[in-house]
Amino acid sequence: MIHLYALGCAPLGAGSRGIDASPVTTIATGGIHAVVSHHDEAVRPSTEAALQHVATIEAVAERIDVAPVRFGRGHVDAAALRTKLDASLPELRDLLGRVAGHVEFVVRSSGVPVEDPRPTEVGPRIAAMGAGRAYLEGRRASALAAADERRRIQDRLVESTGPLDEHAVATHDTIGPHGPERCFLVRRDAARSFTSRARLLVGTDGSMVIGGPWPPFSFAPLPVPAEVAR
């Protein structure tokens, strides 16, 4: 089974190790070099495997320019992987051109907006329609209130981190597992100065936390699906 870490611009020499210390190699097709390791079975998803996946990409990125691939469940063999890659070569080349040689930073609000699991009280008109309808209307009101709160935090995040925009190649706003996030794509050689600027900015605002640098996953939505092992 082949585990895919990233797509590279050049072949990778020997010496890199991946998940479970397996040797990392490259499989070439159409000028793209898939960074992979071979395993007897598909790598089982776990926090430890995910951390090793990210660490491998970071180590490889020190040697060749890559676009990261999110943790998947493996490709059956080299031919199957090549078939997948060949089907999307123009998009993959474009992607490599945009993100290879870059890292990602993320700034998010330290206050996590959580939807109240209890239904919000509804007005007497709706309550009079029946307890069932009142319950669902209350749940909808809770969900809408949480969505409004997320939007408010997102807007504040965009405004607060505005000074960082000019030091990034691209930005991307998203709702992460911990709430609204603003992601920054930054040239690898500018990561140190970006870190300084971000820390300076975040340091003055206790409502934000910064993450990174790490592989630019948020900017690399690969058109290659993670093959499900059968």
């Binding site: 998803p45 776990s46 926090t47 495997a49 995910a50 951390l51 996946h53 990210v54 999110r70 943790f71 998947g72 993320v106 998010r108 330290s110 959580v114 939807e115 699991p117 329609m129 029946g130 307890a131 069932g132 309808r133 009142a134 319950y135 669902l136 209307e137 749940r139 909808r140 969900a143 992460g176 597992p177 911990h178 975040v202 936390v209 910064i210 993450g211 990174g212 790490w214 996953f217 948020s218």
Partner: protein, 114 residues
Amino acid sequence: MTMLPPTENDGVTDVDLGGELDRLLEAGRSGEASSEDVQRGLAALVLTLVEVLRELMERQAIRRMDSGTLDDDEIERLGSTFLALRERLEELKATFGLTDEDLNLDLGALGRLR
């Protein structure tokens, strides 16, 4: 303040109910956990699953309300069913001494259940 590396950002979920069940049963077999502990643990797992399903179904129902594909009777019936299920879950949580936090599943990339 610095964030942790992006495990959640990497598409891997921390949900491992099968592994949790194995650990629970093994703890019961080895005597590490009392039968009451195992019973409570099993209840937490089952109720967590029911809670996830209830949450998903409620959201789907609300989406259908918004899209206008449910009539008034259907909305009332669905809402009553969810309300009754919610009340039953509360009773079961109280019976087994479980709190909302015990059922607060980490859905990895999707965040926590609540």
